[in-house]
């Protein structure tokens, strides 16, 4: 009995509990209105579509914990698949083209990072530039038309194949990357540096952390994840659209914030982002299932952001107060 009690208390002590509770409540609400919501085919749909944007949100979360923003992820999400297709069209084998595409995405992120860190321009501005530039390039190169992505079946399987009922390759990618980042953030020295860089820069520097280098790595990761998500989506849909990922940056930031990442840096978790990503997709899908007009999606996400952040701040205040009291 005592063990269960302590288990409950321990889980309530996790920061992600608020978003997890909202997720649970949402699932129950949708299910009670329309049981089809939890039908095998709908669960399968949810599991299949969530990872693409989830992978992007992982990179954005790390960068936000490190105290910076990346507004360019939506554009990179569209740009990298486009580059990959152009490479394939110019005769490069698909595998090499995908690897090159991902390499280009790291270069894109590296550029954002170096410009931000070396010039001291706020990342909000540099990546806003990135948002316009990479979208602009995609539109200019294609003349606004979609491009078809024909890949050999092995590659399609590798990125978006179905392994077993409810298990898709993109899910495996998402969980593997989430696990990897969780490990880095919570169990390694570099993870501590990320928290320190985003929390108190002076303290971090005093500790001997090269905050500039940490930030550049995070910008690079953020773009790489955006490129990866974009490639998975394009492979799944069989085409790259010049407007692919338009507005995704705000979804990704919203997901990170709902999952408990602070807008000011220094705080946040990977698990929170993963749960929040599922919450966001579930709201979208559930509204369709209960036949609510699609206009409601924004309203709900707005409500969830306000509620989740309010709770997180409430928790933060409580813990600061108790620290001061003790």
């Amino acid at each position: 009995m005592l063990r269960y009690k302590s288990l409950i208390v321990t889980s309530l002590q996790r920061k992600e509990i608020s978003v997890a509770t909202i997720l649970f409540g949402t699932i129950i609400s949708f299910y009670s209105i329309q049981p089809v919501f939890l039908s095998p085919s709908n669960i399968d749909v949810l599991l299949r579509i969530t990872p693409e944007l989830g992978i992007v949100a992982l990179g954005v979360t790390l960068l936000m914990i490190g105290g910076e923003f990346d507004l360019s992820v939506g554009s990179v999400f569209g740009f990298i698949p486009m580059v990959t297709i152009l490479l394939i069209e110019s005769g490069i084998p698909p595998t090499l083209a995908i690897v090159s595409g991902l390499l280009i995405s790291t270069l894109v992120g590296l550029t954002h990072g170096v410009v931000t860190v070396k010039t001291g321009i706020p990342s909000f501005i540099t990546t806003l530039g990135g948002l316009l530039i990479w979208r602009g390039v995609s539109l200019a190169v294609t003349g606004g038309l979609p491009k078809y992505m024909t890949m050999p079946p092995e590659i399609i399987f590798f990125f978006s194949g179905k392994i077993a009922p409810f298990i898709h390759m993109q899910m495996i990618w998402f969980f593997a990357l989430a696990g990897f980042f969780y490990y880095i953030l919570e169990r390694t020295k570099f993870g501590n540096w990320i928290y320190a860089t985003g929390g108190r820069k002076e303290v971090a520097r005093a500790m001997g952390v090269n905050t500039d280098r940490v930030k550049i790595v995070l910008f690079t990761l953020s773009s790489l994840m955006a490129g990866m998500g974009g490639i998975i989506q394009s492979i799944r849909l069989g085409q790259a659209l010049p407007n692919q990922g338009d507005g995704l940056e705000f979804d990704a930031i919203a997901v990170a914030v709902i999952g408990g990442t602070s807008l000011f840096g220094g705080s946040g978790t990977i698990l929170g982002t993963v749960i929040a990503e599922y919450l966001s997709r579930i709201i979208e899908n559930g509204l369709i299932i209960i036949r609510a007009p699609s206009y409601y999606f924004r309203l709900y996400i707005g409500l969830v952001i306000v509620i989740a952040v309010t709770v997180n701040i409430y928790i933060l205040r409580r813990s600061i107060r108790s620290r001061v009291e003790s």
Partner: protein
């Protein structure tokens, strides 16, 4: 990983309880608000006055009472047209009014962002899982045909509206039962033929292409060119965009260099800009015939000015209204779906005032 004390954990539990409560209330509230739109009873009376036509129409929305003809039937309209797209508001209005007349339940799913294929596919898959009695979808991307087939295979009838597959046979193979929208190539031909009474045989014409390479634009252009050849005309194609400043500078340069031009067409709605250019040069209305597509304020303004003689309306209201009617009849009486060309409505001086009024209300 932040850890807190037991006392905080308990207060946190209380806070979370409150959130779940609020969330549930918001959820149910939103759902009721969503479905309530179909339940009210109200009468709208509008008087439409124009120079030539005066007409009073009464729209009675009485779902709760009279029409239980199609009660219990649920249809879903999935589009690529974002929530701010005005054109799709007219389609949406048509769909809602057909649903009210027949008493069925119809919803339209629009992506947050115009043309977001991933989101549209996600919506399509969720809809198939939800198993409505019918789906309506424009084939804005050929990828969507895969899901038309998926829906058909799982027993949901699908009607294609607004945009057909580039090859209608692909749509038929996927299971799309009918196409309700404008027939693009014939619409181009029809525009050119209708405008031809305003310019002599054998003239020189200009065709503005707002979406070079895009199916809708090229198909309409093909039709215009087909008629111009039959009418012994010469013509040039000028690639432009929907950016009116770009159109103005290119058209003005073209007309300067080619003063023999007697007709200007556009496959989108930008040829009224040619009227603006001519007016600023002091050329009286009617000396160059201008024809265009779609009813937007720009088109209405220049028809009233007299510079634009003909606009062809593809009637988005019908593209929302008719698919619902077809699906209801299919479900109730087992009738088959049928193709409809909604795109041959001529707007000119004689009816522009009426159309302007209706356009403001979202019917045109």
């Amino acid at each position: 990983m932040s850890r807190v004390t037991r006392r905080q954990a308990i207060s946190r539990a209380a806070a979370i309880g409150a959130i779940v409560g609020v969330g549930a209330i918001a959820g149910i509230g939103g759902y009721l608000a969503g479905s309530a739109t179909g339940r009210e009873t109200r009468t709208v009376t509008a008087t439409i006055g124009g120079a030539t036509v005066t007409q009073t129409r009464v729209i009675t929305e009485t779902v709760a009472g009279a029409p239980d003809f199609a009660k219990g039937l649920r249809f879903t309209y999935i589009t690529h047209g974002g929530e701010e797209n005005v054109f799709w508001n007219s389609v949406h209005l048509g769909m809602r009014e057909a649903a009210k007349l027949t008493g069925c339940d119809a919803v339209m799913i629009r992506p947050k962002r115009e043309g977001d294929l991933a989101q549209e596919v996600a919506a399509f898959e969720a809809t198939i899982a939800e198993k409505p009695d019918g789906i309506i979808v424009p084939i804005a991307y050929t990828e969507l045909l895969t899901y038309v087939k998926k829906a058909t295979d799982s027993g949901i009838p699908v009607i294609v509206a607004n945009i057909d597959a580039p090859d209608p046979n692909d749509r038929i193979k996927a299971g799309g039962l009918s196409y309700i929208g404008q027939y693009l190539e014939p619409a181009g031909y029809f525009l050119a033929k209708t405008l031809s009474k305003y310019f002599p045989r054998g003239s020189h014409a200009l065709i503005l292409i707002e979406g070079p390479g895009q199916v809708w634009a090229e198909e309409r252009a093909k039709g215009i060119q087909r008629f111009l050849k039959e009418y012994d005309c010469t013509f040039d194609r000028l690639d432009v965009s929907f950016d009116l400043a770009v159109v103005e500078s290119r058209v003005s340069a073209y007309l300067e260099a080619n003063p023999q031009t007697k007709a200007v067409f556009s496959v989108g709605y930008t040829s009224p800009i040619a009227g603006k250019v001519l007016k600023s040069k002091g050329v009286p209305p009617g000396s160059v015939a201008i024809g265009t597509f779609d009813i937007v304020p720009l088109v209405i303004e220049w028809i009233k000015e007299g510079y634009v003689q003909v606009a062809i309306d593809q009637q988005p209201y019908l593209q929302g209204f008719l698919p619902i009617i077809q699906l209801v009849l299919m479900k109730k009486y087992g009738l088959s779906a049928w193709d409809v060309n909604t795109g041959n409505a001529v707007v000119d001086q004689s009816n522009v005032s009426l159309v302007e009024e209706l356009s403001r209300k979202g019917y045109r």
